[in-house]
Subunit: 354 residues, 2 copies
């Protein structure tokens, strides 16, 4: 089992280090780790945020454990050299088409939500965001027009792209509460019309899953008003970017949530994928031991489950994290005083008792 570790910038390295300690504590046999540069640090060392050697390392692995990218030094770089191009490049080059973003409250931390307790209580949803298509990867550019310089971007989805993500979403819904909400803007977009028609076609293969369709504006409303109504959500790249962040915000624990970006390739043990905390690189607190490593550790749990076929270990890690979150050991983000490594210590020692 080969894992490419790409810690990246800002707090990426320090939170990834704690995830690696947890991995080590699991003592899995036959595991090899490789470490590569990505983001601003890669730009500084190699002149590109996603150097070819990093890409090859990721490609050769069974899974990628990713930290975060971006720091202040990059603000003035042209777009193709900016850190976020590393993540877009990895998604495209490794065909990471399915982004899984679970959002649920943690026992004892319900109060983190900005929503009233009775509304926040029921949140337990999964956003399945398509990650290889839409207006993200279409042609784009600048041209002259009667109205001066014009920026343009081509949005599209074809049936094959939608079928692929729809299967992932229906299967995920089958493992959850068997309800799938497909979000689109089919009253305005042709892209969404094909999306909706194709999702309906695939639904026939999953009669045990209840499918509903929702316009994205309504979904954004419902996510605030009654997020508890959602189980699994499937949507395109752009709407998924917005809704998955909104979902994290209504749970309130943005610093604690993990994500998986799955590819098409099956490895010996599961599905190839890249795993990362949804928090960013937070350069303002980097290197101070203030970052909460929970999201990185939960990303590792997703890696164990999806890419290494280690469901049992994934559950153990998640239970250890939940116990630590419910305990006194809290970082500054949760009103406590524990440092990054102290939280790591607590997770490791709890894990060894489970």
């Amino acid at each position: 089992m080969k894992i490419a570790v790409l810690p990246g910038d800002g707090i990426g390295p320090e939170v990834t280090a704690q995830a690696l300690r947890v991995l080590e504590a699991l003592s899995l046999p036959g595991l090899t780790l490789f470490e590569g540069d990505v983001g601003a640090v890669a730009y500084r060392r190699h002149g590109h945020p996603l150097p070819p050697e990093t890409l090859e390392m990721a490609r050769a692995a069974d899974a990628v454990l990713f930290g975060a990218v971006g720091d202040f030094s990059c603000d003035d770089l042209p777009r193709h050299l900016r850190p976020e191009q590393a993540i877009l490049g990895l998604r495209a080059e490794l065909t990471l088409f399915a982004n899984l973003r679970p959002a649920a409250g943690f026992p004892g931390l319900e109060d983190l939500s900005p929503l009233k307790p009775e509304i926040a209580r029921g949140i337990d949803l999964l956003v399945v965001r398509e990650l290889n298509g839409d207006v993200y990867f279409g042609d784009k550019g600048e041209r002259d027009s009667a109205g001066g310089r014009e920026g343009w971007d081509a949005m599209s989805y074809n049936e094959a792209e939608v079928r692929r993500i729809a299967h992932t979403a229906f299967r995920a819904a089958q493992k959850r509460r068997k309800k799938l909400t497909s979000v689109d803007k089919a009253n305005v977009l042709e892209t969404s019309r094909i999306w909706r028609e194709t999702v309906i076609e695939i639904a026939a293969e999953y009669p045990d899953v209840e499918l509903e369709h929702m316009y994205v504006d309504n979904a954004a409303m419902q996510m605030c008003r009654s997020p508890g109504q959602f189980d699994t959500i499937v949507t395109g790249n752009l709407f998924g970017d917005i809704l998955s962040d909104q979902a994290s915000a209504v749970v309130g624990s943005i610093g604690l949530l993990a994500s998986a970006s799955l590819g098409e390739r099956q490895t010996e043990f599961g599905t190839f994928g890249l795993y990362e905390p949804i928090h960013g690189s937070a350069p303002d607190i980097a290197g101070q031991g203030k970052a909460n490593p929970v999201a990185a550790v939960l990303s590792l749990a997703m890696l164990l489950r999806h890419s290494l076929g280690r469901e049992e270990e994934a559950n153990r890690v998640e239970r250890a994290v939940a116990q630590v979150l419910a305990s006194e050991t809290r970082g500054g983000d949760l009103g406590g005083t524990a440092s990054t490594s102290e939280i790591g210590d607590a997770i490791v020692s709890t894990l060894l008792t489970i």
Copy 2:
């Protein structure tokens, strides 16, 4: 002063009727009203949701008072005959490029918000949504691709389009708390890059307004976490569709909010515009006297202010509505028993005391 009244479908006619009673109570001299069909009712009578005579009536007026469109009979119509095409058609044909969507809590109704009281308290924002461009009105269609049928939509903004809406937004911010947040996805979209560069260019003309830029995913998060940070938001058609509905949801009073869609044309008294409640046609409660007419009445207030230059009357109407909302007279949507016309009665009689 000519007002085209387009009540539309569902609860549109009954709430518009109350707005017209309020208008009558103001006894403005020299006012002529015209009434036209729009939406499903227009499709049934004339074979099109936006018949030419309705469009001409709207064009010839100083302002359009719009109810709502859509009912169950339209679910199976092809897209170009569906009620929402009426509203898209009016926006395009009448060059209604600036959608103003205020979202603020009403005194006494803070509890409507799904957010915790301490977070909901400070919400007082205005979303300025561009309404004539973006992926809404670009070329679109279906084509064959290696992945089967492919839906596509062209997204774009040019400098002239962005300048126009930016001026509207900066001027609106000047009348408010002088803070403008421009929302885009400039880290991915060329459309957004031109948007951002142009907004920055126009900002030089408004040195008294503080400008910030925010990615749409972050804006959707912040709108849940701390909506009180926003004063005026300016954004494109698609992001504006999502964020303005989200803003209404965090205030919680979706049934009570109004909107203005302003054009370029200056009339004798102000700016040509179309005014409508943000709630839809609610066909399930149509004709039962259950609809709350407050949003229609507040739309009338916006019409008085922006198209008829009647700031004083607009303020009177808004004060009357606020008093009624803070009183015992509440509709079923707010836990009371007052009917549509009883709420209208209360607003009219309060108005006459102001």
